[in-house]
């Protein structure tokens, strides 16, 4: 049946509403980026103007790169996020495989136990986590953050990957068994490659909260050597709060990696959400 064609007026109104909201969503980011390239007086004189040759200035970036240890902060963030995602994916996929492939006593219970963490935030255990990290001598180490983020990411990873692994054909795995593959090879060589799309979705979902987290870096690893870029920019901006050039430049520097990653992964991310990966 042919759809009744919508009137041009209605389509126009729909676009108008969407464009207005898109502007609301993008404007603050746009404003920050353009002003970070202007000199101080034109930031205040003409906040909405694009940088022109006469107002262009990199003074903010010079301050940021001269004062803050941003290279180190970026490095810390990359290590923490990367290693955590690696463990979340590996451990999560292994547990998901066990839950979806084998029938054993307590299977359902185990699934529920691991799913608890989807709804209950790990933050509520901070008091005892800090106590434990002090006892283990892990305060102000990246290891502490990696452990916490791995635990934080696992529940959702196990949940999504279990659903996905149930769709992998039994025939394939049984064929592997007949060919004499061990259960480990079946997992690593047959199943893992097949669930790669789901792993990518999990990786994106896991990455965002870890990269953006302020709470655990603030409490577990606030030392200069272990600051993540989120905490680093928070502290930097707090100190330079009256130096608008520096603040805007620091914000822009913090936005750029997120923006680049988002442009690369946005299709994956949006497809992940809309295909019902999180339900």
């Amino acid at each position: 049946m042919a759809k009744p064609t919508a009137s041009p007026v209605r389509t126009g109104l729909v676009h108008l509403a969407l464009i207005i909201y898109t502007l609301i969503a993008l404007f603050p980011v746009f404003l920050t980026v353009i002003n970070s390239f202007k000199d101080r007086s034109s930031i205040f004189r003409d906040p909405l103007g694009l940088p022109t040759p006469s107002t262009f200035s990199l003074i903010g970036y010079q301050t940021v790169l001269g004062q803050g240890d941003f290279v180190l902060y970026f490095q810390n963030s990359f290590i923490v996020t990367g290693v955590s995602i690696f463990f979340v994916l590996l451990f999560g996929a292994m547990a998901a495989f066990a839950l979806s492939e084998y029938r054993f006593r307590g299977n359902t219970l185990m699934g529920l136990y691991l799913a608890l963490g989807i709804m209950i935030p790990i933050r509520l255990g901070t008091v005892a986590i800090l106590q434990g990290m002090v006892a283990a001598g892990l305060v102000n180490t990246l290891t502490a953050l990696i452990l916490v983020y791995t635990a934080q990411g696992l529940p959702l990873a196990v949940f999504i990957l279990t659903e996905f692994m149930q769709t992998v054909s039994d025939d394939l795995k049984n064929a592997g068994r007949i060919d004499g593959l061990s259960e480990y090879s079946i997992f690593f060589r047959l199943v893992l490659p097949l669930v790669r799309p789901a792993m990518a979705t999990v990786a994106v979902f896991t990455m965002i909260p870890i990269w953006n987290d302020l709470w655990f870096p603030l409490i577990l690893a606030p030392s200069d050597a272990t600051k993540t870029v989120t905490l680093g920019s928070q502290v930097f901006i707090g100190q330079f709060v009256t130096n608008w050039n520096a603040v805007l430049a620091a914000l822009t520097l913090a936005i750029v990696p997120v923006l680049v990653l988002y442009l690369i992964f946005s299709r994956q991310l949006i497809r992940g959400i809309t295909s019902g990966a999180v339900k």
Partner: protein, 316 residues
């Protein structure tokens, strides 16, 4: 395809021959999750029943809770934070979710051009860290910079401008709306997904019966996306009662002005970690964390047992 019987025999053999594999596959996830998440959570709940006297940890029963709820030094800031937290949640439910539903409805207009562009752009704020979001809005709303008075002037509302973040009466609303701006992408995406899953035939049948436009949205689409709205509500609830970062970056740990934006997360941070003259208090920190745990748990249980069960699932 192997038959069910064969599969179950395979599985039965698995149980006898290969049970160690199961343990090896489960162990790493189970160990990290239990050691770093579950045990600290239980330990935190336990600590809330203890207090330190003369450097000795002693069992005090529910005395910490009595102090938190009733002692003049604690009760005022606790009830203030709890009330603010409910307002924070209410604003999200009233603003964020309706806007999310509206945007999703617009995005799911059939044959919409540039749909992917709109989705990508509108989801961007959700990915930014609280530090970025907090400071950007702090600058934009700052009376020093003059961006917001200028923009309000464009629509002739300049007289409305005031330093919202600095006034006790409006600071909480302003912070909540910043958070709404950041998170509107999540309800939008989930509802959009739910709307895509509504089968064509249902909508065509509705059109045949003359149900179109607004009444189609209210009578056909909205009931079908109710389960997604339920999920979004509980996600919002958990996120809001666990929030901390945005208030911390916009208003600092003291959640000013005069505690007007203090929520449970910032109260927990100050209590447990100490701030300025206040000394960190582990027992009271654990007590506040326990209260937050109970609030979130009751919300989740209410959702799972009362709301989700009553909601009808439509199978197509």
């Amino acid at each position: 395809m192997s038959t069910v019987a064969e599969v179950s025999i395979d599985r039965a053999e698995d149980r006898h021959r290969r049970r160690w594999h199961i343990l090896v596959f489960l162990a790493p996830a189970l160990l990290v999750y239990t050691a770093v998440m579950i045990l600290p959570l239980i330990e935190t709940l336990r600590l809330s029943l203890f207090n330190v006297k003369d450097n000795q940890s002693i069992f005090v029963g529910f005395a910490n809770f009595q102090v938190l709820f009733g002692d003049p030094r604690w009760a005022a800031s606790f009830w203030n934070a709890l009330r603010n937290n409910f307002v924070f949640f209410l604003i999200h439910m009233l603003v964020q979710n309706p806007i999310g539903v509206a945007l999703a409805a617009l995005l799911s207009v059939p044959k919409l051009r540039f749909g992917a562009f709109y989705r990508t752009a509108m989801f961007l704020p959700t990915l930014l860290s609280f530090v970025i979001v907090g400071f950007i809005w702090k600058l934009i709303l700052s009376p020093i910079w003059g961006v917001s008075p200028f923009l309000l002037d464009l629509v002739g509302l300049k007289s409305l401008f005031s330093p919202w973040l600095g006034k006790p009466g409006s600071a909480l609303i302003a912070v909540s709306l910043i958070s709404v701006w950041q998170y509107v992408g999540i309800p939008m995406m989930l509802i959009y997904a739910a709307m895509l899953n509504i089968p064509e035939e249902v909508l065509e049948a509705a059109e045949c019966d003359g149900v179109t436009g607004w009444s189609q949205f209210w009578k056909i689409k909205l009931p079908l996306i109710l389960p997604s709205i339920g999920i979004i509500s509980i996600l919002t609830f958990v996120g809001n009662f666990n929030a901390f970062d945005l208030v911390y970056t916009v208003q600092g740990a003291l959640a000013g002005p005069d505690g007007a934006t203090d929520i449970l997360g910032t109260l927990l941070y100050r209590t447990f970690f100490g701030f300025q003259l206040q000394i960190g208090d582990k027992s009271m920190g654990a007590t506040i964390a326990t209260v937050m745990f109970l609030i979130i748990l009751s919300g989740v249980c209410l959702y799972l047992f009362a709301i989700q069960r009553r909601m009808r699932r439509y199978q197509f």
